[in-house]
């Protein structure tokens, strides 16, 4: 790159010199090293010789390749964590809560700044009659906490918000309902 630039400058200088009448060529010597102009590879004797390792070891490389999609969960029925898979047949209810792509219940804790920071429990991926679901969960939470629970229903985005941290309670309720 730099050498090309230098050559073009030299050429331009020469042509202008010819036009004026000078015959002495102007030499521009580049006294710097450019990364772009440097040769990318050295000659082979600068590198080590190598040999191929047996193909038997390739299985260890295959172990390191991550899956390109979310793997499906094992259907053996032994789930010792809080997580359980959704019921095979959806429950006969006017509403439905879809699992996320990672097979998780879509209940999240959000921190919303209104006048001060508030903890908001949000349920997403709702289908069907959102108002019935809101009434059912709200009455459940109120019976648990023995105090009124403030809720907000968004019919367009199809999500419900509850003021306060009820994530574990709501998750448990939804899992028990078979979602």
């Amino acid at each position: 790159m730099a050498s090309v630039l230098a050559r073009s400058i030299l050429l331009r200088q020469q042509t202008s010199a010819h036009r004026i009448g000078y015959t002495t060529p102007l030499k521009i010597k580049s006294c710097y090293i450019s990364y772009a102009a440097a040769p990318k590879e050295k000659s082979p004797e600068n590198y080590t010789r190598y040999h191929e390792v047996s193909a038997e070891n390739w299985r260890f490389v295959e172990r390191l390749i991550p899956p390109t999609f979310v793997p499906s969960y094992p259907k053996n029925g032994n789930y010792s964590s809080d997580w359980t898979p959704p019921a095979d047949t959806p429950p006969n209810l006017p509403y439905f809560v879809k699992r996320t792509k990672n097979y998780m219940v879509p209940v999240y804790l959000k921190f919303e700044e209104v006048r001060n920071e508030r903890k908001i429990t949000i349920i997403r991926h709702i289908e069907g009659d959102i108002w019935v679901l809101e009434k059912a969960i709200k009455s459940h939470l109120e019976s648990l906490s023995k105090r009124p629970v403030v809720s907000q229903v968004h019919e367009v985005a199809m999500h419900i918000k509850f003021r306060g941290d009820y994530v574990n309670e709501v998750k448990k309720w939804l899992l028990n309902a078979g979602f």
Partner: protein, 299 residues
């Protein structure tokens, strides 16, 4: 003048016709009148020039402001408060992001982790749920004791830090745990091995832990990777006695070969030696012949 054609228009008709062909006025092409916003120039001379907004006298007018923190002779705030050395040496500290036993069990339940093979940092990063950032001085994962009673998985796991209770929870189920150190260049290769292999760089040689971590990783109580295996076996027995559980016999285990799989202290990937170059496209592995390089990569 699209509509003009052969007709001769005059006056308002002509103006309206012009308007029809012109672009509509919208928020996109609104522009203020020329010279609508013109800054008044700073006046100079006998009557025009005054203070020019710099105020009268003092540091404001002369632009010689006091240095930051100077309180005109008071004991300044930055010296009044005593030092709080909570973050002393934070640039040297190693961070180990936590993974709880409940999270690990959830990974197993949802089929994200294959427990038929040893679980190490690469397997945890390959779930794409836990990300490691070695550039932020994260040196690997620590296993925490949340969900300790619910943990039922039998795993051969390698983490960078684990408490005594966590070790007991893993070994109670017939699993094996090792704590191992990785230096940042190794971690950069391990967090995304496929991307690393594509760069054409040979697999790095794992460096020994720093001075303040050697004690941890040589201690059989922590199941350190530099500890004596015989002493680890003894400590496994002692821990089972302490927490009162029956230690499952590893020798009778059908998955014994998997449970005994360990890395060399200089190795970062199972089955792959440092110095090897992986060609993902042709599915080939190359090893250097140079004696000096072989000497360097030797463990």
């Amino acid at each position: 003048m699209a509509g003009a054609g052969n007709r001769v228009l005059a006056g308002a008709d002509r103006a309206l016709d012009l308007l029809r062909s012109l672009p509509r006025l919208s928020l996109g092409n609104l522009k203020s009148n020329p010279k609508a916003f013109q800054q008044s120039k700073r006046g100079r001379g006998r009557y025009g020039g005054n203070k020019h907004g710099a105020g009268n006298k003092g540091s404001g007018q002369r632009q010689n402001f006091m240095r930051l923190g100077y309180e005109t002779g008071n004991n300044p705030f930055y010296l009044r408060v005593p030092k709080e050395p909570y973050y002393k040496g934070h640039h040297l500290r190693r961070e180990y992001p936590p993974i709880s036993l409940l999270q690990l069990q959830t990974l197993i339940d949802t089929g994200r982790l294959d427990t038929s093979k040893p679980v190490d940092l690469v397997a945890l990063c390959n779930t794409k749920i836990f990300l490691l950032s070695p550039i932020e001085k994260q040196f690997g994962f620590q296993l925490t004791d949340e969900g300790l009673d619910k943990f039922k998985g039998k795993v051969n796991i390698e983490v960078q830090h684990a408490s005594e209770q966590v070790i007991a929870a893993i070994e109670r189920n017939g699993g094996v745990i090792t704590t191992a150190f990785y230096d940042p260049p190794s971690l950069l290769a391990m967090r995304d091995p496929i991307k690393f292999f594509a760069s054409g760089i040979p697999i790095p040689k794992r460096q020994m832990p720093p001075e303040d971590a050697i004690e941890y990783y040589t201690d059989p109580k922590n199941r350190g990777y530099l500890a004596d295996p015989d002493l680890i076996a003894l400590e496994r027995f002692k821990l089972a006695q302490k927490y009162g559980y029956e230690l499952p016999d590893l020798k009778k285990d059908p998955e014994l070969a998997m449970l005994l799989e360990r890395k060399d202290p200089r190795q970062i990937f199972f089955g792959l030696s440092p110095g090897w170059v992986i060609n993902m496209k042709d599915k080939k592995i190359f090893e250097p012949d140079d004696e000096k390089l072989q000497e360097y990569y030797k463990s």
